[in-house]
């Protein structure tokens, strides 16, 4: 009984913490809707430029928004969710990680941006500290970020097939990046294919070890997908996992 209460209380505390943060003085732009809002996206040329300021914040924040289920996660300065977690979960040697994880790049002598967020250069020269959207949520490489950006624009303009196609392109470039699978699951969901949405989210989970914020979003998506398929018990279970993960 007591044991069960601990995660529940923690989850409630976390969530309420999040919501107070959102309402509070810390300037977090409501980027959840910004990402899915086509006008804003087209206005500033993609969600990459959506401004999410990242204050020193102890918790991982999660803002689920409506049906599209777009979630922007902002890792705080705390040790638990700092950037290095985004490298592949088990990395025994420099060459054994996936093609776009920093491993193989690391082993070459190429001067590749490792420590800071590896954003592709934006012509507008937005400083990386204030660039938000996907890049801020977890560290992503140039090509994946570029393709997710394209997919996001296509999705925003209603071209779901194009978005799915771009995401599959990203999946080929970075087959082990769970964020790509997460986005793919979202698009499948928007296309009305809840069964495949759930599958992609499940696949994402097998690669999201050590990334609790992303795990929570994936479980949340699974919950939505199960609901759509009429599996309310399964959805409730997934929601539970989402809370535990976050």
């Amino acid at each position: 009984m007591n044991k069960w209460l601990i995660p529940a209380v923690t989850a409630v505390a976390l969530l309420s913490g999040c919501s107070t943060v959102q309402r509070g003085s810390i300037p977090v732009v409501d980027s959840g809707s910004a990402v899915s809002n086509s006008e804003r996206v087209s206005a500033n040329g993609g969600f990459r430029q959506t401004t999410v300021k990242r204050p020193a914040q102890a918790q991982v924040q999660e803002i689920p928004q409506g049906d599209t289920g777009v979630v922007v996660m902002v890792p705080g300065g705390g040790a638990t969710t700092s950037a290095p977690i985004s490298t592949s979960p088990i990395t025994p040697g420099p060459i054994s990680s996936g093609p776009i994880t920093p491993g193989p790049i690391d082993s070459t002598s190429a001067p590749i941006n490792q420590g800071s967020y590896s954003l592709p250069p934006t012509p507008s020269g937005i400083p990386s500290a204030s660039s938000g959207g996907l890049s801020a949520d977890e560290q992503l490489d140039g090509p994946v970020l570029a393709l997710l950006t394209t997919a996001q624009q296509q999705q925003a303009s209603g071209d779901l097939n194009g978005a799915a196609s771009s995401l599959e392109r990203a999946q080929r470039v970075a087959p082990r990046e769970p964020q790509v699978l997460y986005k793919l699951a979202q698009v499948r969901m928007a296309q009305g294919d809840a069964a495949q949405a759930e599958q992609f989210a499940q696949r994402g989970l097998t690669m999201a070890s050590g990334r609790p914020a992303l795990q929570a979003s994936l479980w949340e998506l699974i919950a939505q997908a199960r609901e759509k398929q009429g599996d309310s018990a399964g959805a409730a279970q997934a929601r539970q996992r989402a809370k535990v993960s976050s």
Partner: protein, 753 residues
Amino acid sequence: MGWAIKLSLVGLVVLAGFAVYLDAIVQEKFSGKRWTIPAKVYARPLELFVGQKLSKDDFLTELDALGYRRESVANGPGAASVSGNTVDLNTRGFQFYEGMEQAQPVRVRFSGDYVAELSGAKGSKLSVVRLEPLLIGGLYPKNLEDRILIKIDQVPPYLLDTLVAVEDRDFYHHFGVSPKSIARAIWVNGSSGRMRQGGSTLTQQLVKNFYLTNERSLSRKLTEAMMALLLELHYDKREILEAYLNEVFVGQDGQRAVHGFGLASQFFFSQPLAELKLHQVALLVGMVKGPSSYNPRRYPERALERRNLVLDVLQEQGVATAEQVEAAKKMPLGVTKRGSLADSSFPGFLDLVKRQLREDYRDEDLTEEGLRIFTSFDPILQMKAEASVNDTFKRLSGRKGSDDVEAAMVVTNPETGEVQAMIGSRQASFAGFNRALDAVRPIGSLIKPAVYLTALEKPSQYTLTSWLSDESFSVKGADGQVWKPQNYDRRSHGTVFLYQGLAHSYNLSTARLGLAVGVPNVLKTLARLGVEREFPAFPSMLLGAGGMTPIEVATMYQTLANGGFNTPMRGIRSVLTAEGEPLKRYPFQIQQRFDPASIYLIQSAMQRVMREGTGSSVYNVLPKTLTLAGKTGTSNDSRDSWFAGFSQDLLAVVWLGRDDNGKTPFTGATGALQVWTSFMRKADPLPLDMPQPDNIVQAWVDSRTGQGSEGSCPGAVQMPYIRGSEPPPGAACAGESPASGETVMDWVKGWMN
């Protein structure tokens, strides 16, 4: 006198009627869709991004196949310059399903076998760039014309002037027929006594090819002339010229007739027409007079002579300057070499594409509508697969009976479920029986991972270190037949760890395990792995008596390689209409069929196959750091030699055997595995590295007893277990209490071994 007038009046009316009739034909065919275009099939576009694994050599192979000109400074689309580890190129741009990829200057710097830097104009960084895809074939009915339609404003400099100068100097001034040329033709034919020369204008040539048969007679000649006049009446010179450029016959490729300069340019130079230079233009125009006698691949000297003659005409007519002509004459013919990537055919893979397309389209749609089919075919991997088959057969040619052995191979990407290469015949360029798709052969020990996976899904009963008996036994089937399996070496191996049964492919322990978990359950596992074929639940199924095709085996192993997620094999990504509009997509689909933890265990056992079991010969060739998983398969009397295995990003299934099902000199290890190893060496894949599921624990066990042990103890090895099934931790070894630093070191060693 009166009757003569009447007769000529009648004649005139008849002629007028005939003209009206011809006019209808001329207009009808010319105004609508003029040609039916076979569907074009494209390979995957090569993606470039920083951190991508791609060797410079492979990259240059791809550029050559795409017809990139090597220049000292890359200028204009389709040009590339190489300097050290850096390649500068100007991409051509292409319409893809997801949108337009713009033509742009790109600089790629390689470091080792990786792309280290990717930048665009003025050094700006680029995140990802796609090259245009290689055209790998089309879908034609037999004896069909093939063409790539071009617009008149897409032609390279000199083409129109050269064509007019060589074929019809009066083109811009006549009305469809040229009395001057006809007079000349009559004189030439009259003096030689035979029909030798036509005084045809370009318009007449177009009419002849476009509307008429190849018959040579005066009446046909008159019809042709009338139609030419009518055509000129309705359409302007540019339209007629454009039609001519697309209609003209320039060569034969097997049963496919190469029409139009657009396709001719791809067919001979592997380049888009717009990029052709003077010497190439001169060759193509020169070939119009006699496509087979001036075929530059078959008669290079004759073709060169003809080309230079055309160049002389250009100088004489003032189309090109003496210097330009001189320079062009110094150029080689420049046609792509036979056997190079640009001039290869891939019947095995195209067969797969056709079959997948026929499920969604009618044959007419595929052969007439000019659809653009985008596939996952990787020409570089295909060339490596073909080379591996050829090299291995050459190396093993001393073995008696190896000449009659056929081969099939399927290469996929386990992370995407896409087919990347396919070989349906030992002579990969031979179309015909596609063994990769159609040869149903007993899979032998390739079935064994399904047996062990069935057991490992019950962690309370089986772990990798469960004990199995490898003693001989016999069972009586329902039909009264006695089944008495034997090991390959005809010996029993006492008691072995479960993983050793798989690693060494012991039949006795595997059969015992399979009977213990139940044959029907093993077959259920097989179905969950993606095999749709039905098998009877005989005990002999446990050792692979059932037959499967190589692509079915690939589907099965794909699920093992991809963490237990099944993916239907895909060869096609998307289809565009002739106008570049998105038509259909073949989406990536997955379905989880197994808990990742049990897959983690079976992968671990399959890695043991390669490290210490029947597949260990790979590490005579490949580096130890390259973690691989796989399984050999040999059917009774070595009639089939199989190997199926995977790295992180590459899965390959190889089958060797005879079409008449005779005995071969190969086992799975001595035949198919050799091809597989050769392929993996050339392809240089990423080491297998499945993320460890949360419910897997690594435990130290004594390698002799399977009991829990301290990491520092002699003979201690680390094994993965599903949480809760690991042996209780062992006590420290006698008298030793190792420092924690040592333990960590041993732990690292355990990882590395």
